[in-house]
Symmetry: C2
Subunit: 240 residues, 2 copies
């Protein structure tokens, strides 16, 4: 059975404007590989209602699982929860279970309960909450879409909660070989090897370092013994 497929949606003007370099995508990609879920596509859109609604719908219909990051805080630009409700046609309001979590947390810390803060308890009807051990305000799952915070520490904690709920496939294994030759030189024998091992995927990632060109060749697949075999042949073809 093929692995389940996934997409990620990053919501954030701060990334599109070059102010912040996204960290969550790289983290999620690494976690999904280990869990046997194939990340097929990532999209980054701005804090714009129509862009978020349209993209969530498209990704939710195309992939088995969708992960979003960003836009679930208390400020005026945090519109993700409302957009998700719109995309799925659910009612949304401050929900008792989420409000109770937040109230208990704030009372313990002596934090004033404001309307703005209570925006973080706006959860679409029928959604399942995702625990936030870092700052309590929960994420949530609607259908196959998992809505998580953009702050990396919170995002990572939410991914840790959500992944065990998702049935993964076979973890994708990989090995790589650094070959100090230009890609033009390795392309033909590498292409032939890729045809011979059609059950594996062969990627060639060029680099230039101090004016010298080379490539990291990565062999990926679910069968470790086959990868070993292909790597041995690869190393013989391109001795250091």
């Amino acid at each position: 059975m093929p692995n389940p497929t996934a997409a990620m949606l990053v919501i954030g003007d701060e990334i599109l404007s070059g102010r912040t370099r996204d960290a969550n995508m790289h983290f999620l990609a690494q976690e999904l590989v280990k869990h046997g879920v194939d990340l097929k596509e990532v999209r980054i859109v701005s804090d714009d209602r129509e862009a978020i609604v349209t993209t969530v719908k498209a990704l939710s219909e195309t992939y088995d699982e969708v992960f979003t990051s960003g836009g679930i805080g208390p400020t005026h630009d945090d519109i993700t929860a409302d957009c998700i409700a719109e995309a799925f046609g659910c009612h949304i309001d401050v929900r008792d279970d989420a409000a109770a979590l937040l109230r208990a947390h704030w009372e313990r810390r002596g934090v004033e309960i404001t309307n703005a803060r209570m925006r973080m308890a706006r959860i679409p009807d029928g959604a399942t909450l995702i625990d936030n051990p870092v700052s309590i305000a929960p994420g949530f799952t609607v259908g196959n879409v998992h809505i998580m915070a953009g702050v990396p520490a919170v995002f990572q904690a939410m991914v840790a909660t959500i992944l065990p709920r998702i049935t993964g496939g076979q973890p994708l294994l990989s090995q790589s070989l650094r070959i100090e030759r230009g890609e033009g030189e390795i392309a033909e024998p590498l292409g032939a090897l890729a045809k011979e091992y059609a059950d594996l995927s062969f990627g060639s990632y060029p680099y230039s370092q101090n004016g010298v060109f080379g490539a990291n060749v990565v062999v990926r697949g679910v069968d470790g013994a086959r990868i070993d075999e292909a790597m041995t042949k690869l190393a013989e073809m391109f001795p250091a």
Copy 2:
């Protein structure tokens, strides 16, 4: 007149599998802001023909300019040029001008000219070449889509070539204020200020550091004096 809009398409299994952390998106985002082009969306897809063709078409129809990175080398997984030709319905083959550039470069360096290497001279009919001062193999522009290499040094050089060809708008200016209070506390006054300065955009980006929560508030717009004014009010609202 509003600024031109742009999208970026990153082509690469190595990013979706978590092996590599993309650097080109962050670089392009920063360059576009300076040039007055609004980056509205980024998509990352795998080295898959259908995904690339479909995505290029969709982005090209939606935005003024589209920038792609990756998949134009000589190896079997470099399929971007052929996908672009398919998306635009153009013929593609080794083109004389690109081949001449590469041949001259390789002859100078005593590099053997192989069929695989010549793949890098496959350029769709009607495309305009984009100079590659780093490793010669050119990028190219078809319609409103600019096809560039994934290797960061080459990508950056190609962006430097292409940006002066694009009519930009007004550079987006921004100022930020680090506020050491939880977003819940600043959300209401910030929302009111954002309404008062509707010509500017206000983003709030929460952080947590050593267990303390705060937010970086970023005010963006094209009128520097208006941003100064809003920042002064913001600093008065939240004295350090």
